[in-house]
Amino acid sequence: MCNTIRMELYKIFRMKSFFVLAIITIAMVVLTAAFLVDDIEENTQAQSTQIIGINGTENGSTDNSVQFGITESVEGMDVDNLAVLEIYGQHLSSGLFILFNVIFLVLYVTADIKNGYIKNIGGQVKHRSSLIWSKWAAAAAYVLVFDVVTFLVEAVSMRISLGYLHWGSFQIHLPYIGVQVVLQYSFLVACMTITMVLRSRAFGMLAGTCLSMGIAGLICSGIDAVCGRFLSIRNLHLENYLLTTKMSELLPGAGAVQIRNILLLAAAYLVVFTLISLVSVEKRDLL
């Protein structure tokens, strides 16, 4: 098992797409830091500012609405007192990082299926389940490296852009960032599972990007509406059980109960999707 994990780690950090996406992500982080001051100043006239991408709301409402797209709010931020941990937490909850991670990990999990490498090793491992565990471990290592690197880039960029470096409250932001990372990882495991079950890079990428942009929230709202209208089931709120909803809902300084519930949901996702992956790799033929 350890050797299989070493092999996956060796592979993941040698993929061309790893470096390409790392460069793009770092560029995005630098750019957001560079335009941060302008965005906050513009925000004095508007309630919220879009930093990246699109911001869509259902029925034009702002509260309790299903959001899709990548949105970061700079509302209430003070140009003279911007904290690295706060801005970094915003990036995590917005879905900015998750989008890049989904793109890379879909490429990663489909690479050995696409080029046939899986057939070189699939027969030589003692248990096929180790192919899944090793991928999960490699993905976890990747997420950690990615988050640490982007955090450091964020800090340096903010120092250069703002002229000062203020970390923010570790007590408030570290648990928040930790939970966001767990949610991020659970979400990525779900996307990797979907890709492996579908065995299609195109569909995996489509599903991953749509989910990371919050499309599942829209689908859940639709299901809620249908259930409400035809089955008389009201207040279903399926979107409350989505990882992306929890990512955007969670705020720094959240209570212990909320954090526990969110972590339980993340664990449930991990268990369910890992089981699906294991069954898929054990029972199906390796193509």
Partner: protein, 301 residues
């Protein structure tokens, strides 16, 4: 030498109503180079995938190194395979590709990859990306990947596919050398009997999912040897007469056909002796079958 390394019993793979592999009983001796021959779509790859543990059989079982069922997990690392196209990372070098797999076996020494590159004749590729390799080089790298971890049993699915005659000869020489120097057992599939006949010690011919013949190199060569073909009604009686003439290298094919492989120049004498003994040959001719036509006759029957 006669120890059986791979043995299958009624191995079957069914996709819905279609049996891609149908009830195959195969036997591969340790140290043999086994040529698995069949036309495109005959079921070769599906069979090899099952043997390599990439696909689960619908029915039947197989043993490798005497292990079967769940015990197979213990010997899986001893089976190296190249199934269909060589699975390589195109944007990495040959050495990196080998080192990825070497990690699976806990090997970190880069000299290990150099050794394999040398064995498969790719020692001079340097930093060239595998995606820029010629087809022959990719096939060699695929074989190199199958050799990582020093397996005792190599399963190669059409490794000479798409190669030019020189490339085929090089791969053939390399496999022969590997079998001799390392004592490897090799299962190699192809649809070109002519090429495998120059390399393999044993052969299995598959057609429409069924293994229709298993034979050794000697038997194959005998099949294609120059022979006197006799069509007669009493082959048993004819055999007694041949023994009396001190001719022992013959074979009764069926109830009416008898092949004689020696003293072909004495065909007139054989004919006279048979007629004298009251055995009248209905047909008698000296014939030699090409490997290709032998294969075609088998698979079109």
């Amino acid at each position: 030498m006669n120890e059986i390394l791979l043995e299958t019993h009624g191995l079957t793979k069914q996709f819905r109503h279609y049996k891609a592999v149908n009830n195959i009983d195969m036997h591969i001796r340790r140290g043999a180079i086994y040529g698995f021959i069949g036309r495109n779509g005959a079921g070769k790859t599906t069979f090899l995938k099952m043997v390599c543990g990439l696909a689960n059989p619908t029915a039947g079982e197989y043993s490798i190194f005497g292990c079967t069922g769940k015990e197979l997990a213990q010997v899986r690392p001893r089976v190296g395979c190249l199934i269909e196209a060589p699975g390589i990372y195109a944007n990495m070098t040959a050495r990196d590709n080998l080192m990825i797999k070497a990690r699976l076996f806990g090997i970190k020494d880069k000299k290990y990859a150099d050794g394999i590159l040398d064995t498969v004749g790719l020692s001079d590729v340097g930093r060239k990306k595998a995606g820029h390799f010629s087809l022959g080089m990719k096939q060699r790298l695929g074989i190199g990947l199958a050799m990582v971890g020093n397996p005792d049993f190599l399963v190669l699915d059409e490794p000479i596919n798409g190669l030019d005659p020189q490339g085929i000869a090089e791969v053939r020489d390399m496999l022969r050398r590997l079998a001799q120097e390392r004592g490897l057992t090799i299962l190699i599939s192809s649809h070109i009997l002519e090429e495998l006949s120059k390399l393999c010690t044993d052969f299995g011919i598959i057609h429409k999912g069924c293994l229709i013949k298993e034979l050794s190199q000697e038997q194959l060569l005998q099949q294609c040897e120059k022979r006197l073909e006799l069509v007669l009604d009493e082959p048993e009686k004819a055999m007694t007469i041949l023994d009396g003439m001190n001719i022992h290298k013959y074979e009764a094919i069926d109830k009416t056909h008898l092949y004689v492989y020696e003293r072909l120049e004495d065909s007139m004498l054989i004919n006279r002796e048979l007629v004298t003994a009251g055995v009248l040959p209905r047909e008698m001719k000296v014939n030699q079958e090409e490997l290709e036509s032998y294969f075609l006759n088998l698979t079109s029957a």
